[in-house]
């Protein structure tokens, strides 16, 4: 729920309750005031009649109007303290029963006791009250409506800088070298938010750059000694004429340095992937990449006598060229390494999936563990145990999913692209 919606809900509820309670109170106050006015009229009438009787010792002529009429009947007992009360009576002029305010009292005229009831119609009062209620309800409706409209307009405008800030934060890319620079706004809260976000991203950027520089320098510091070892091995190799054992030992060291260097590069790549140091906005033709990587390996595939079947559509993804190459490289390296000689291999590429299947000699792999770092099904000198972990991280970054299945003596690695990401030329 939006903040505004919630605020509006509370606001409107409070407004309605206030108006309802207010109108009910208003109704009673008005009713009380109007009734008192009627009562005053009744008292005046009573006084006039009593005065008349006192002066003339006879009953006055009664005048009946639309709103007031007087009934006089002979009475037995005098009423000690006459009080006005509300009741209903038949209005002869209007010819209907209507609510009235009535004051009943007794007078003595010509030695006789009479009960006089002065009646005033309350319809006018009721009408007035109804009108008041109607006006009140209309007022409520009007206020609610204007409130709603003004709020909507105003709030949308008031919140606009907030949404601008949110958009900038959402689009923030750490790999872009500039920290976020949100503008100063006229509203204090938004200004505070922007300033804090600016400060925060500046700090994050600093840390991020420091981390990046660190990993790069660490890489440099590691690779240089490796380069020294490697060049020294090459120099030593030249003096080994006739010493088979020495050559073998030197080459073992060389293999180890090669592996160390690869391992280090892989770990560096994983760190970069986790830091999201890549922008995936390049149009990458995956078909071309797979074709060229397969061509590079044609001798290797021929040497292992693999039976290869390739079914590919032209697929262009919004991706990162270098990452796409690494992904394809790792997949193909695994495919060639783990397929036995004369094994079958099939590669399928469509707009939705890239699937690589290869014949498996030793049954299914451990599905839970194959994507973990340094997990190896068998100890292999060549494998770093990071290939699939890297593929997995690239997939996570690009929003792809990778699945592994084993069926009919075949390993099946399938990468599902985002449906919206694939397009055909």
């Amino acid at each position: 729920m939006k903040l505004f919606t919630r605020y509006n809900r509370v606001n409107i509820t409070a407004t309605i309750i206030t108006f309802l309670v207010g109108s009910i109170g208003f109704y009673f106050v008005m009713d009380y005031v109007l009734t008192r006015q009627l009562d005053r009229g009744l008292r005046v009438e009573q006084q006039e009649i009593i005065d008349f009787v006192k002066e003339h010792n006879q009953l006055p002529e009664v005048q009946t109007t639309r709103h007031q009429w007087i009934d006089i009947v002979p009475a037995a007992d005098p009423i000690p303290h006459p009080k006005p009360n509300t009741t209903e009576a038949f209005n002869k002029i209007e010819n209907e029963r209507e609510p009235i305010r009535q004051l009943v009292f007794t007078v003595n005229a010509g030695g006789k006791s009479y009960q006089v009831s002065v009646n005033q119609s309350k319809t006018e009062t009721e009408d007035l009250l109804q009108l008041i209620i109607l006006v009140t309800v209309l007022m409520i409706a009007l206020i609610l409506l204007s409130n709603y409209l003004i709020n909507r307009k105003l709030v949308t405008r008031l919140w606009a800088p907030f949404y601008r800030t949110i958009d900038s934060i959402r689009d923030l890319q750490l790999s872009v070298k500039k920290p976020l620079q949100l503008p100063a706004e006229s509203i204090e809260e938004i200004n505070l938010l922007n300033a804090s976000v600016n400060k925060m991203t500046a700090r994050i950027h600093q840390d991020y750059q420091a981390l990046r520089t660190f990993t790069e320098n660490a890489s440099h510091e590691m690779q240089t000694p490796l380069a020294v070892i490697r060049s020294k091995i090459e120099s030593l190799l030249q003096d080994t004429e006739g010493k088979e054992k020495t050559i073998q030992q030197l080459l073992t060291i060389e293999d180890a340095t090669l592996k160390l260097s690869r391992l280090h590069q892989s770990l560096l790549l994983l760190t970069k992937l986790e830091n999201r140091q890549f922008q995936l906005s390049e149009a990458v033709n995956l078909t071309e990449i797979i074709e060229s990587k397969l061509a590079e390996r044609s001798e290797l595939i021929a040497a292992r006598k693999l039976v290869l079947s390739v079914t590919m559509k032209e697929v262009v993804l919004s991706f990162h060229r270098h990452l796409a190459e690494i992904m394809v490289n790792n997949l193909l390296n695994n495919m060639i390494r783990y397929t036995p000689v004369h094994g079958t291999v099939s590669i399928t590429l469509t707009n939705e999936v890239l699937s690589i299947k290869n014949y498996a000699a030793n049954g299914a792999l451990n599905t839970d563990k194959i994507f973990q770092r340094f997990y190896k099904e068998e100890q292999s000198a060549e494998s770093t145990g990071l290939g699939l972990a890297i593929i997995k991280e690239i997939c996570v970054l690009a929003g792809f999913t990778i699945t592994y299945q084993y069926a009919f003596h075949e390993h099946d690695f399938t990468i599902h692209f985002k449906p919206s990401n694939a397009q055909t030329i």
């Binding site: 790069e216 320098n217 890489s219 440099h220 510091e221 590691m222 690779q223 240089t224 490796l226 380069a227 020294v228 070892i229 490697r230 060049s231 020294k232 090459e234 120099s235 190799l237 030249q238 080994t240 088979e244 050559i247 073998q248 080459l251 060389e254 293999d255 340095t257 090669l258 260097s261 590069q265 560096l268 590079e296 390996r297 001798e299 290797l300 040497a303 292992r304 270098h322 190459e325 690494i326 490289n329 390296n333 060639i336 390494r337 060549e382 494998s383």
Partner: protein, 225 residues
């Protein structure tokens, strides 16, 4: 052929110096940014081997300086920074090649040779080694003045062996030169042997003595008297 080595790591600098001198180049070497600037200001080199991270400055700035002065020295960057952006930046600034540490010295040698050939290719595109003549421009090979047809990989292999003549090249180095860094070779490079075998067969068939020596199957060497 004059070469300047700019590399701050002492041992690596010395090893490259020895190696390239042994390959017949006239080499000088410096260890810092300042010394490097001094050298390139007063001398001209056929090829400069340039490290990027140097005490006192960046190798990329040296490259900028060279290009500003319109110097024609060939430049090969050697860097531990494998990051793609660095590679692109280096090449955009006008470097001729980019080699990521750690590299094989034989690989460095063949790349330097290629740069020098490109820089002064007037009549220099033919390399002779014994009976073998390789035209790097026309991609043709003559053995005993007889044209020999080689596949692309065999041609690359022969050129690699010739540039690094009389040196033992490990199968590792050969594989990386021919197929690049990002492939792995599950069969312990056995299939390289078939390429060597074919190349050897073609050369011998043209009437030249077998000059490719196998070092116990671990490495190979083009032996010339």
């Amino acid at each position: 052929m004059k070469i300047l080595i700019i590399e701050d790591e002492l041992t690596l600098n010395q090893t490259m110096l020895d190696f390239l001198s042994g390959a017949g180049y006239l080499c000088e070497s410096v260890f810092s940014y300042k010394d490097a600037l001094e050298k390139i200001e007063y001398h001209t080199y056929d090829c400069i081997v340039l490290d990027i991270m140097l005490p006192g400055g960046s190798g990329l700035d040296i490259l900028r300086f060279l290009k500003q002065d319109k110097k024609t020295d060939g430049v090969i960057i050697i860097s531990a920074k494998g990051a793609l952006e660095d590679k692109i930046e280096g090449l955009q600034l006008g470097a001729d090649d980019y080699l990521i540490k750690p590299f094989h010295l034989s690989e460095l040698s063949v790349r330097i040779a290629a740069i020098i050939r490109r820089k002064n290719f007037n009549g220099q595109s033919v390399i002779t080694a014994g009976d073998i003549q390789v035209d790097t421009m026309g991609k043709t090979v003559l053995v005993n003045n007889q044209q020999v047809d080689l596949t692309q990989k065999e041609f690359q292999l022969l050129l690699f062996l010739i540039v690094n003549r009389n040196r033992i090249l490990s199968k590792n180095a050969i594989a990386q030169h021919l197929w690049g860094d990002d492939m792995d070779f599950p069969d312990n490079y056995d299939f390289i042997y078939s390429h060597i075998k074919n190349l050897r067969k073609k050369i011998v068939a043209a009437g030249s003595p077998d000059c490719i020596k196998s070092m116990y199957g671990e490495g190979y060497k083009l032996q010339l008297p």
